[in-house]
């Protein structure tokens, strides 16, 4: 069996493909999961995927900007998690459920 | 430096009030605003020495990019408006003394914040700064109406807010447009560029910008078809809110017309003067007629404001010295006499808890002094000679007559009608038999109330009898503005620029 044509060093494109796959997984979780916390985590997964592509771009372009962006994304994600989880807690307190399909107070 | 201090003192007061105990809040607000008033008097003499130009100029960079300057100054046009603001604020506080019981600190804080915004509007010479102050005024007034107003206060507050907001957005657009054209927000820089023809503004552009500014100001004035927020806002606002709204806030619009619309876009202003004057006249007559049938005192006074402000707009768009002087003088007059009217209506409301005229009658018997003051104020408002409004109205009429005699005829009809509605109200409120409910509730004016209104009474007579104390400064600035409104004989410079391209 001939060795797989694996290069010595992975090209940046691989990272991007990985990023895309993770993002797709995040979207899938975002769309299909019913537990709101899982949905939230899917969003975090998407953010992570994007972060990966930022870092990869940063490598490709030999710049540090991508890192900075990732940093900001993390900060925002932290803020989002704080508020989002507080909201989830509140929702749970009021509705006693975490099913996204049952949380529809905004409907009318 | 004095002007800066006076501009920022109310803000300081507002901030201090936020951390103040309820019990001392009103005392503090009163003495603080009185202090501001007294110190603002020191602005008068330097400006009077040279009323045509800006005094007390501060011109520093506020925001580096885009370059927004903190450029303020005072000339004869803005001087009296600033003094009017500083004068009315303590009076407004005094008027609210007993009436406001909840969230006292916030209430007086908003009054001071309002003062800050108003002074800012009248002194800023940077378009963006002007806009900022313009919006600053909006907020405290919104809350004054929305929190301490009467039953339908939310509706009124929102209506007030949306109306003015709609206008100011247009203004902001025009300001930004001007900035894109000229590269600066500074009023004088823009003015110079436009006048010297450095920037080519096509007639269409000029008209559009003029209209943007004009609508923003016209809503604030308010000019005839845009006035419907005013009665609601007045009726629902607490007394002090009405006083500040009618006396000073409406002047923001007319001030803006004089300060910005005319000099910046002289051709457009002249081209559009006809229909604007037409609207003003319609407003004068219309406001008077509608005021005549109002069952609610505050509404009546509010519609009378529409009518009076119509005079101001008419004067402004007469494009001559008398018209402009009269307009500015009428701004001050209206501030004083309508402010006083709102105060008095507020006094009545505090006694009888009604604004409906039918709930009154024969007030003169239990409250003779209140009646006397009310009648004097009413007479001032309908333009009785020797009281202040007459001079303004007369000058406006004279100016309008010079521009187009038909305008004067139309406007003069409004003078007749003003007597009708005002006397009608006085008649039904104060004269006749005293019903029991009135006899039980209505007492004569108190010492505090009298002190609050007395300065306005004095000013009514003073301004009516000796206008020379006030008018020359106004005239000098107006002369300058008129000079700037002169349409250049040839607009050749822009044409050349256009050709060169």
């Amino acid at each position: 069996m001939p060795p797989l044509p694996i290069p010595e060093h992975p090209p940046v494109a691989w990272y991007l493909i990985l990023s895309a796959i993770l993002f797709g997984l995040g979207v899938a979780g975002f769309l299909f999961r019913r537990n709101i916390i899982t949905v939230f985590m899917s969003i975090e997964l998407m953010l992570n995927a994007v972060n990966l592509s930022f870092i990869a771009f940063s490598y490709q372009l030999k710049q540090v900007s991508g890192h900075i962006f990732t940093f900001f994304v993390m900060v925002v994600a932290a803020a989002e998690a704080a508020v989002g989880l507080a909201i989830i807690l509140t929702i749970y307190k009021n509705k006693s459920t975490l099913e996204v399909d049952e949380i529809n107070s905004l409907n009318n | 430096m004095i002007l800066n201090t006076i501009l920022f003192l109310p803000l300081l007061g507002f901030l201090m009030l936020l951390f103040m105990h309820q019990r001392i809040a009103r005392q503090f607000a009163l003495w603080f605003s009185l202090g501001i008033f007294v110190s603002s008097l020191s602005l008068i003499w330097p400006v009077l020495a040279n009323p045509g130009d800006m005094s007390f100029v501060t011109n520093t960079i506020w925001v580096a990019y885009p370059e927004i300057r903190f450029h303020i100054g005072l000339d004869g046009l803005s001087l009296w408006l600033v003094i009017l603001t500083t004068l009315l604020t303590p009076l407004a506080i005094l008027v609210s003394w007993k009436y406001i019981r909840d969230r006292v600190t916030l209430y007086y804080g908003y009054l001071l914040l309002l003062e800050f915004g108003l002074i800012g509007v009248f002194v800023s010479l940077d378009m963006f700064l002007f806009y900022v102050f313009w919006e600053v005024c909006l907020v405290p007034m919104y809350f004054l109406i929305g929190i301490w107003g009467h039953d339908r206060r939310i509706y009124a507050a929102v209506k007030f807010f949306l109306y003015t907001m709609a206008g100011s957005v247009l203004m902001l657009a025009a300001i930004i447009w001007l900035y894109l054209k000229t590269g600066t927000f500074d009023y004088f820089a823009i003015l110079n560029q436009i006048r010297s023809g450095q920037v080519a503004i096509s007639p269409l552009e000029q008209t559009l910008m003029f209209l943007a500014f004009f609508f923003s100001f016209a809503i604030k004035v308010p000019l005839f078809p845009l006035h419907t927020w005013l009665p609601d806002a007045h009726v629902e606002a607490p007394t002090a809110g009405s006083v500040m709204l009618a006396s000073v806030m409406l002047k923001m619009g007319t001030y803006g017309l004089v300060r910005f619309c005319l000099p910046l876009f002289p051709e457009a202003a002249r081209a559009n003067a006809n229909w604007i004057a037409g609207l003003a006249i319609v407003g004068i007559i219309y406001g008077a007629l509608v005021a005549m049938v109002q069952p609610n005192m505050k509404k009546l006074v509010a519609y009378s404001s529409v009518s009076h402000l119509g005079f101001v707009v008419l004067g402004i768009f007469s494009f001559n010295q008398q018209g402009l002087d009269g307009a500015v003088y009428q701004m001050l007059n209206h501030g004083i006499s309508t402010g006083a009217l709102f105060m008095l209506v507020g006094y009545l409301y505090e006694r009888q808890h009604s604004l409906e005229i039918k709930d009154y009658g024969g007030v003169a018997t239990p409250a003779p002094i209140l009646t006397t003051i009310f009648v004097i104020t009413t007479l001032a408002s309908i333009g009785l000679p020797t009281l202040n409004n007459f001079i303004g109205e007369y000058l406006v009429l004279q100016g309008a007559a010079q521009a187009n005699f038909g305008w004067a005829v139309g406007a003069a009809v409004g003078v007749i009608l003003s007597a009708c509605y005002m006397l009608w109200m006085v008649q039904r409120t104060f004269y006749g038999e005293t019903p029991d409910s009135v006899a039980h509730h209505v007492t004569d004016i108190g010492k505090r109330e009298f002190i609050a209104i007395a300065p306005l009474l004095v000013l009514m007579v003073w301004m009516g009898m000796y206008s020379q104390s006030f008018l020359p400064a106004v005239s000098a600035s107006n002369a300058k503005i008129l000079e700037q409104t002169k349409v250049q004989a040839t607009r050749s410079v822009p044409a050349e620029v256009a050709n060169a391209r």
């Binding site: 694996i6 993770l22 997984l25 299909f32 537990n35 940063s58 932290a78 508020v83 989880l85 | -």
Partner: protein
């Protein structure tokens, strides 16, 4: 060597990602996500982003996910309930996902050209020093803005967590 590392951790990441999506119990999903993050941190290291890799650990794995786990524990959230019509969310979602993935991969395919091979240690700008420097000079304003954002988020979370709601 680099490729092996990449493939290994990429595989872990993808596996954890899939696990995240298919597991019904949130805490499993959370741990899967931590797995994704950990392997991503390694990938960051491979890409020369030491600082970000560590921050990924501290912030994501150490703070955010702890918060998630904490909340899951606090609510004692169980596995998703079985519902009467479990296919319902897939009705719209599945075609949408297919389209999304299809379009995305088309574009990815279209746009991915030649790219540099990633050699471990060749990119040396990812240390704290460089990032700190550009963060506090070039990106100072965004940095401050995000700090304010964090502050607001803290306040918001506190307000939400109060008893009245």
């Amino acid at each position: 060597m680099d490729s092996l590392f990449f493939l290994a951790f990429a595989a872990i990441a993808v596996a954890c990602g899939i696990n995240l999506v298919i597991q019904t119990h949130p805490i499993t999903s959370a741990l899967s996500l931590i797995g994704v993050m950990g392997s991503l941190a390694v990938l960051y290291l491979l890409l020369g982003a030491e600082f970000i890799a560590m921050v990924q650990l501290v912030v994501y794995a150490g703070a955010i996910m702890v918060l998630f786990v904490f909340v899951i524990m606090l609510l004692n959230a169980g596995a998703e309930k079985r519902v009467a019509r479990p296919w319902k969310p897939y009705l719209v979602g599945a075609p949408l996902l297919v389209i999304f993935v299809g379009v995305a991969s088309c574009i990815l395919h279209d746009m991915l050209g030649d790219s540099d091979p990633v050699i471990f240690g060749s990119f040396t700008q990812g240390g704290a020093r460089e990032i700190g420097r550009s963060l506090f000079t070039e990106y100072l304003l965004p940095f401050e803005v995000t700090s304010v954002l964090i502050l607001i988020a803290i306040l918001g979370a506190m307000v939400l967590a109060r008893k009245e709601f």
